[in-house]
Symmetry: C2
Subunit: 130 residues, 2 copies
C-alpha cells in the first residue's frame, strides 16, 4: 500500500481528483449559487426552488440539481409517498460556501445602481470615441 488510501490522499497526493477550475465552474454559476443558498437552511422541494430561483427554467433547474447532487453539493431525498415527495438539501461540505455566496448575492443587490451608472459612463465614453 505505498500509494495509501485514495480517499485520504486528497489533492496533493495525486488522487486524480476533479480540476478545481471545473468545480469553481459548477458552484459559481448564478443558478448554483441561488440553489445552494435556498437549500442551505433546510430541505426544499423542487416546486419551491422553481419559485425561489427567479428566472430559472424547469429544464435548467432539473439539470443543475442533478449536477449538484452528483458533485456531492446537494443531497436528494425521496420519500415513498404517493406521489413521491422529493427534497433537496445542501450537504455539510456545501454549507461552507453559504456565507460567501450570501456576500455575492447581497453585493449584487446593493450595487445595482452603481453598475447601472458605470455602464452609462462607459457607453458615453464609447460614443465620444467613435
Amino acid at each position: 500500500m505505498s500509494q495509501g488510501n485514495t480517499a485520504a490522499a486528497g489533492i496533493e497526493q495525486g488522487a486524480c481528483p476533479v480540476p478545481p477550475r471545473e468545480i469553481l465552474d459548477r458552484i459559481a454559476g448564478k443558478w448554483a449559487i441561488q440553489i445552494i443558498i435556498a437549500s442551505a437552511t433546510g430541505p426544499i422541494r423542487f416546486t419551491e426552488l422553481e419559485r425561489l430561483v427567479e428566472g430559472i427554467s424547469r429544464r435548467m433547474l432539473t439539470l443543475t440539481l442533478r449536477t449538484l447532487e452528483r458533485d456531492g453539493i446537494l443531497e436528494r431525498t425521496v420519500y415513498p409517498t404517493v406521489p413521491p415527495k422529493v427534497e433537496y438539501q445542501a450537504t455539510p461540505m456545501a454549507l461552507e460556501l453559504y456565507e460567501a455566496m450570501l456576500t455575492l448575492t447581497d453585493w449584487s443587490r446593493r450595487h445595482s445602481a452603481s453598475v447601472a451608472r458605470a455602464r452609462e459612463r462607459y457607453d458615453a465614453r464609447q460614443t465620444v470615441a467613435v
Copy 2:
C-alpha cells in the same frame, strides 16, 4: 425635480438599475472570479492575466475584461508609451468581493477529491438503477 437625482436614488427608489440576477451572473462566473482575484492586489497587464487565469482563451479574456470594465468592476488604465501599456485593477467596489471569491476558489481546491468521490458514488448508483 420630483423624481430626485437618478444617481442618488439607488435601488429602492426605482432608479431603473441593473437586475441583481444579471449582476450576479457577471461577477459569479469562473473567469470573472479569477480575474477579480488576480487584479485585486494591484494593477495587472493583459498578458499576466492570460497566464494566471488558466484555460481562458484570448478572446474570452478580452470580452470578460470589457464587460467587467463596463460594469465598474475593473478600472482600465492606458499609459501613453510605445507600445501603449494597458493595466487592469479591481475597483474599490469590486474589492468587497475579494474575500468571498477567495473562499470559493479555495473551496474548489480543497474539495476536489470529495467531489470526485461523490461523482463515483453517484455514477455507481445510476449503473445499479439501470
